[in-house]
């Protein structure tokens, strides 16, 4: 068996777990990661220094950071403090929705590739390429139109440009995998580095905004950006973009579950041998799914430029890598991506709240991201826990799925 077959095998094992079990495992992984995060915050609180007045006390010991405050800020703060009585949609809540919107696209990008049995680690790079292309394309086009007509024309145009360039960049590892047998994990990671490097070169040179000290392109005019409807403009969130995102969730779900292409993708992900025997063109499916995956990443980049920044700047946040977590947490199911993206949007947005309220470094969320992936990847651990702990082991869901060990492929489940 080749490495690719094995990778697909492993993925199919992940896909095979039933939906209920998947939700339980994802929830447990999340809870466990938060608990370990809390311990980490406590340990970090012992390693740093603060005055006695600032310290909190647990188990008779003083800590500089309080995990309760950290996670209170992380979750409730991200939702704009719904219990405080002064909740408004314009506060942190819209930041959360903004992050969710981007994570929807990067999550879908990773999920689509994973479903086809391809590890696309390159969503980040595809997003960078899409973002830069959108910033330049829309800037060029914005001289041709203006006003409301401009908005109506330029936003779809910008999304299209992002999708095309992200898609082309995604096609590169697809072609390399299909026709040169180059492992996509390595090539996509390398392409991330290349995208960042080349973007830095272009934005610090040819396409640099002469008015700005930062490495960025000339900012887009206001009418070429997503309009702020319902929510305040200050948080750079647009409900239109979120609607696009939800539409994408539904569309990808439909494509995967109800179209011939989706069938090809899913079967090559689960049973590549059988898929090919059944007449699926494996090479074409690899290229097509990575192109589409790249296009979704590119749209995320376009959203970032047209909704948040209004320009392309080097140092794009790691939405692409977060997309991996979102997708894995969602079991690579488009509908699950919707929920996981909101959850991770809370984490991302909460990070800034934590930064304001405490001294805990924002890199904490990066650690949580890794931990969540690690735990979701080991369903066996939670099965053992469920069996080992009296009381919890008798939960009907846990028992019902108990017999299905990771090894036996009981066909794919239409979650």
């Amino acid at each position: 068996m080749s490495a690719a077959d094995r990778a697909r095998d492993a993925l199919s094992r992940l896909v095979d777990a039933s939906a209920t079990e998947r939700i339980l495992i994802s929830t447990a992984a999340l809870v466990l990661s938060v608990l370990i995060g809390a311990v980490l915050v406590l340990v970090a609180g012992r390693m740093t220094t603060c005055t006695a007045g600032e310290a909190v006390y647990y188990f008779g010991m003083g800590f500089c950071y309080d995990p309760v405050v950290v996670f209170d800020r992380l979750f409730l703060g991200a939702l704009g403090d719904p219990f405080s009585g002064s909740w408004s949609p314009n506060g942190q809540f819209s930041v959360t929705l903004r992050e969710t919107t981007l994570l929807l696209f990067t999550g879908l990008s990773v999920a689509l590739a994973f479903r086809a049995g391809i590890f696309n680690i390159g969503t980040q790079g595809q997003m960078v390429v899409g973002a830069l292309a959108t910033a330049l394309g829309v800037l060029w086009a914005s001289s041709l139109v203006s006003g409301v007509v401009g908005t109506v024309v330029l936003i779809p145009f910008g999304l299209l440009v992002g999708a095309v360039f992200g898609g082309l960049y995604g096609a590169v590892p697809g072609l390399l995998k299909a026709y040169a047998d180059a492992n996509e994990v390595i090539t996509t990671i390398m392409l991330n580095f290349i995208a960042t490097g080349v973007a830095l070169y272009l934005v610090s040179g040819v396409f640099k905004d002469p008015e700005s000290a930062a490495n960025q392109t000339v900012p887009l005019p206001e009418f070429a950006q997503f309009p702020a409807l319902l929510f305040g403009a200050r948080q750079d969130f647009s409900i239109v973009a979120l609607a696009f995102g939800l539409l994408a969730v539904a569309a990808l779900y439909y494509v995967l579950e109800h179209t011939a292409f989706g069938y090809d993708v899913r079967t090559s992900g689960v049973q590549p041998g059988a898929a090919e025997y059944g007449g699926v063109d494996a090479k074409r499916t690899v290229v097509a799914s990575l192109t589409l995956s790249g296009a979704l990443g590119g749209i995320a980049g376009a959203m970032y430029v047209m909704m948040i920044l209004g320009t392309f700047q080097t140092g794009i946040p790691s939405y692409g890598f977060d997309g991996i977590t979102v997708s894995i947490l969602a079991g690579n199911n488009p509908l699950g991506v919707g929920i996981a993206a909101l959850l991770f949007g809370v984490l991302k947005s909460g990070t800034t709240v934590v930064q304001f309220a405490t001294d805990v470094p924002p890199q904490l969320v990066g650690v949580l991201r890794g931990l969540i992936i690690l735990f979701v990847a080991m369903p066996e651990f939670f099965r053992l826990m469920a069996r080992g702990l009296p009381g919890t082991g008798s939960r009907p869901e846990a028992v019902a799925t108990d017999g299905g060990t990771a090894g036996d492929g009981g066909g794919e489940t239409d979650e």
Binding site: A3, A10, T48, T187, I194, F321, I324
Partner: protein, 366 residues
Amino acid sequence: MSDAPADPEGAGVSAESAEGEGFFERYTTRAIAAGVTVATVVALLLAGALFPDSLAGTLSDALTSRNTLASALRLSVPIAFAALGGIFAEKSGVINIGLEGLLIISAFSAIYVADLTGGVWLGFAGGVVASTLLAALFAVVTIGFRADQIIAGLAVWLIALGLAPFASQVIYGSPNTPIVATSPSITVPVLADIPFFGALFSASPSVYMLFAAVFGSWYVFERTAFGRWIRASGENPKALDTAGVSVTRVRYAAVLISGVLAGMGGAALSLDLGQFTGNGPTMVNGKGFIAIVAYLFGNYNPVGAFLSTMLFAGLDAVQTVLQLQGIGIPRQLIRVTPFVVVILVLALVGRTRLPEAAGEHYETEE
């Protein structure tokens, strides 16, 4: 399969069933790629000697400079150590894609311990311990709990990518650590005065440790029972099990060794500079992934992996020289060349023959 793949003559021919006819039947793409590399270098050197003022002249000057060899050796240390570690893990049947994470965590821990204790070698040990612990976690998750190796490896990378800057921020108030003392380089008298190759005899201790590790790994795989067990665990775990050797134990040992080796690489990386920088992709910056390509290109042979690492590191060293000399190509573009070359190499080498059982969980029948 023991011949060095960088040797264009018949390297690893038996390992792959090259399709096609004539020329392609006798030489694998790997051998061809290596041959083309050697030919390019020779052509460059000749052109440089003939036209010293041209671009080729500048390049061949850079290639033959003693400093280039010295910095190529220095740059290859973290990559080659990680590649050796990767060979151990993957030969035993566990694909360790988290090498990047092991390098990051050891690079930070080495500086932290060195700063805490004031001892460079204590710091080195600290880095190795941290990396081994993270590798142990990876081993438990993949071998004990049958997690998918690729996803768990990604998790190891992402955890380290968050944890090292987090710890640095907590302890030092910045993702970059303060600068600690570095260990002086060791110079072998007389031999160090040889032109060009003298760089081999005037290097930091980590370079000599790398030589020892390459030889040691080669020796383990070719001459010891443990080496045979590792190979069997990756190729035919059932046979190993039948022979009465625990596959699980061999795999745990191999993954832990990969943690130790990657830890040595990461610790050497940061201690060589005396600082850990944790912004963006951190100072490790993809070296762990390049290491994976290096050992794939080196066909799982420690010597081959070292030679292909030298190819990547040499490229990196040359690009540094070129950046300083300014040959008209912008700095940011020269910097991405190693990544482009990795992709080209991977595309040329194509399908590598993984150990038969790599990536699969082995269930002992009791």
